[in-house]
């Protein structure tokens, strides 16, 4: 169901999307995206540069957030923009939860603006200062 100009109100919340991100998934993202930086796939290297271990790509976290927006909005073509700050790393085995809340509805333009973000089950704010816009149907 696509969201419409009439149905979306300020304060509406995106259906939260939670996903436990495994090393297998991070490695699959590395391969598919081409971002094979060893901090994502090589435990020893990650520790050597001061990380607790391998970390998920910030772009993978952003992709899961964008999926949450797509599902809520009724399709990925509805997502007009997304921006985030990569504040804290997500570690393999962590569960990320992506959220969003409508802060403005421009009925004339058919655009809803949302504050968006993501946290981990370790209580870390993974994606912060997030903003997104979604296209609404008539």
């Amino acid at each position: 169901m696509a969201l419409t100009r009439e149905s979306v109100k300020v304060g509406d919340e995106v259906t939260p999307l939670s996903r436990t991100v495994t090393q297998e998934q991070i490695s699959a993202y590395a391969e598919a995206s081409g971002d094979v930086n060893p901090i994502h796939v090589n435990e020893e290297f990650a520790r050597m540069v001061g990380l607790p271990g391998t970390i998920a790509h910030g772009m993978l976290n952003m992709a899961i957030l964008t999926e949450a927006l797509s599902r809520w909005a009724g399709g990925s073509d509805r997502v007009a923009s997304v921006r985030v700050r990569f504040s804290k790393p997500l570690l393999p085995g962590d569960t990320i939860t992506c959220t969003g809340k409508v802060v403005e509805v421009d009925e004339a333009a058919g655009i809803a603006t949302l504050e968006v973000g993501a946290t981990s089950d370790r209580g870390e704010n993974v994606l912060t200062n997030g903003r997104a816009t979604v296209r609404l149907s008539d």
């Binding site: 993202y29 081409g34 899961i64 599902r71 990925s76 997502v79 921006r83 990569f86």
Partner: protein, 133 residues
């Protein structure tokens, strides 16, 4: 190290092809163990592949800018999706260094990027903030 003299540098990565197989693997990687959200559709953040990495890769390789990759952090990322891409699309990607700022012993590099379709229409715009320590 990047400095203000590098603001305005432009980079071009023309002819980025959206490969269906790869976009599918990308969608599966996002889904992890869950079902793919929209089978057959190219996820919006696939812009990382056809726009962001080709553009940033050129900046990383610019010896005169001299970014230290070992201490580099992807601080922020934004995308505006002007229209969806599909398998087989070819886009021209470009980037420009729009800001370089040093503070607290770190260098913040802002990069604007833009992908254009073969019809000349905008496909995706982006902004990256890179932090070099």
């Amino acid at each position: 190290m990047p400095d203000e003299s590098h603001v305005g540098r432009r980079y071009s990565a023309k002819g980025q092809q959206v490969e269906g197989d790869r976009a599918e693997r990308f969608a599966q990687a996002i889904a992890g163990g869950d079902p793919v959200a929209e089978p057959g559709a190219v996820p919006p953040t696939y812009a990382a592949v056809y726009l962001m990495f080709p553009a940033l890769g050129q900046i990383f390789g610019d010896a005169e800018v001299g970014l230290n990759l070992a201490g580099l952090i992807h601080g922020e990322q934004g995308f505006e999706f002007h229209r969806p891409v599909k398998a087989g699309d070819v886009v021209d990607s470009e980037a420009e260094i729009v800001s370089v700022e040093s503070k607290r012993g770190m260098t913040f590099v802002g990069v604007d990027m833009r992908a254009t379709g073969s019809d000349g229409e905008p496909v995706c715009s982006g902004h990256a903030l890179l932090i070099s320590r």
